[in-house]
């Protein structure tokens, strides 16, 4: 499975890439929203993992923009964030319009938990 990881924190991103590659996925990593759009175009990912808390960009706005492209509308998204998930889960549009399959808090999500969530999202990505 090709995964697009959008994470501004380079240290955390490296650990996520290590764990996901060890689980057999191929990971394209973007620091910024702009870079994410370019990589999505090149790599055609089957799943997106997004930290919406980015510098100079609102990640949720970015997700709306990303999902405005017809070819990316069906790609499932996992939100992995420092923002408490309870705050983001109030946004009902996440699941209804933006194909968000899980909202995970970074501090409570181990690499193993992330791997399990990605594994459960894979069938949806293939459907």
């Amino acid at each position: 499975m090709k995964i697009l990881l959008i994470e501004p924190d380079a240290v955390l991103a490296a650990t996520y890439v290590t764990a996901l590659e060890a689980a057999g996925h191929s990971v394209a990593y973007a620091h910024t929203a702009q870079q994410a759009v370019m990589l999505a175009d090149e790599q055609k990912p089957g799943l997106v993992i997004l930290e919406p808390q980015m510098a100079r960009h609102n990640g949720i706005e970015f997700l709306y923009e990303f999902k405005s492209y017809p070819e990316w509308q069906r790609i499932p998204v996992i939100i992995l964030t420092s923002v408490p998930p309870s705050e983001l889960e109030k946004l009902s549009v996440l699941r209804s319009q933006l194909s968000v399959v899980a909202v995970l808090g970074k501090s409570k999500t181990s690499l193993a938990d992330l791997g399990a969530t990605v594994a459960s999202a894979v069938p949806r990505a293939k459907a």
């Binding site: 380079a10 996520y16 290590t18 702009q34 870079q35 930290e51 808390q53 193993a112």
Partner: protein, 241 residues
């Protein structure tokens, strides 16, 4: 009046503590995930992960020391120690302290070619702590960019004194954004979103440290670069030495 000033100071220190807590929780998250990822790779990769743990911990210690220095100054447990300070050596020492973190993130640190500058009277330890705290935020912020540009530690003369600080190319910092961030740190998750996605605690520790020695952090420009700097008055008496 005095009580109001005390309340404002207490509120600022509480917000600074909250901001530090948020920054340190990020550090602990780094340590936890790196420790979890370490057994996955080969021996070389594991060694690299240990070195990363070391650099992350060292950086957090520097920030905590700067916070503690500020807290001691605010509570008058210590007082500023004024001494003649050479700006070029101050910038050089700050660069040395920041070098391992910059190397870790692949950021080039440069010291601008400095003209001969007058000595200033200030607290060298406080000034250096402020510069290092600022540098930590700038390095982390630059690491979030797709293209990593060099950071420059620079000083120049202005009509008010010597302006010393840290600058980056293409920075979107503005005086308004920085002023707003002062009222947001400790309560907002991204008080300085034009610079970094994180809590930018180092910037506010630097701001408070400089305030404690009657200096001020402000947005400044150096050639085509934008950054944060402080203006230090030249001591005329030292010109005679």
């Amino acid at each position: 009046m005095k009580q109001d000033a005390q309340m404002i100071a207490t509120d600022q220190q509480e917000r600074l503590f909250l901001s530090l807590a948020e920054q340190l929780s990020q550090t602990f998250l780094h340590l936890a995930r790196v420790a979890e990822a370490a057994p996955i790779g080969d021996a070389a990769k594991q060694l690299e992960q240990w070195s990363l743990v070391h650099d992350v911990a060292e950086s957090a210690m520097l920030l905590t020391e700067s916070y503690a220095l500020n807290a001691r100054l605010v509570q008058h447990l210590i007082h500023p120690q004024l001494e003649p300070v050479t700006i070029s050596s101050l910038l050089y020492d700050a660069t040395q302290q920041l070098a391992p973190l910059a190397k870790r993130y692949g950021i080039e640190l440069q010291i601008a070619d400095l003209p001969k500058m007058s000595l200033i009277m200030s607290d060298r330890v406080v000034l250096q702590s402020a510069l290092v705290s600022l540098g930590q935020v700038f390095i982390a912020a630059e690491a979030e960019n797709e293209v990593k540009r060099p950071l420059q530690l620079a000083a120049h003369h202005s009509r008010y004194g010597i302006v010393a600080g840290l600058y980056a190319e293409g920075s979107e910092l503005s005086t308004d954004a920085f002023r707003r961030s002062r009222s947001l740190y400790g309560t907002a998750r991204q008080p300085l979103t034009r610079l970094t996605s994180g809590p930018a605690t180092g910037v506010f520790i630097a701001d408070n440290l400089l305030h404690a020695i009657a200096a001020k952090l402000h947005v400044a420009r150096y050639h085509n670069l934008t950054g944060l700097a402080t203006t230090l008055p030249v001591c005329n008496q030292l010109q005679l030495v």
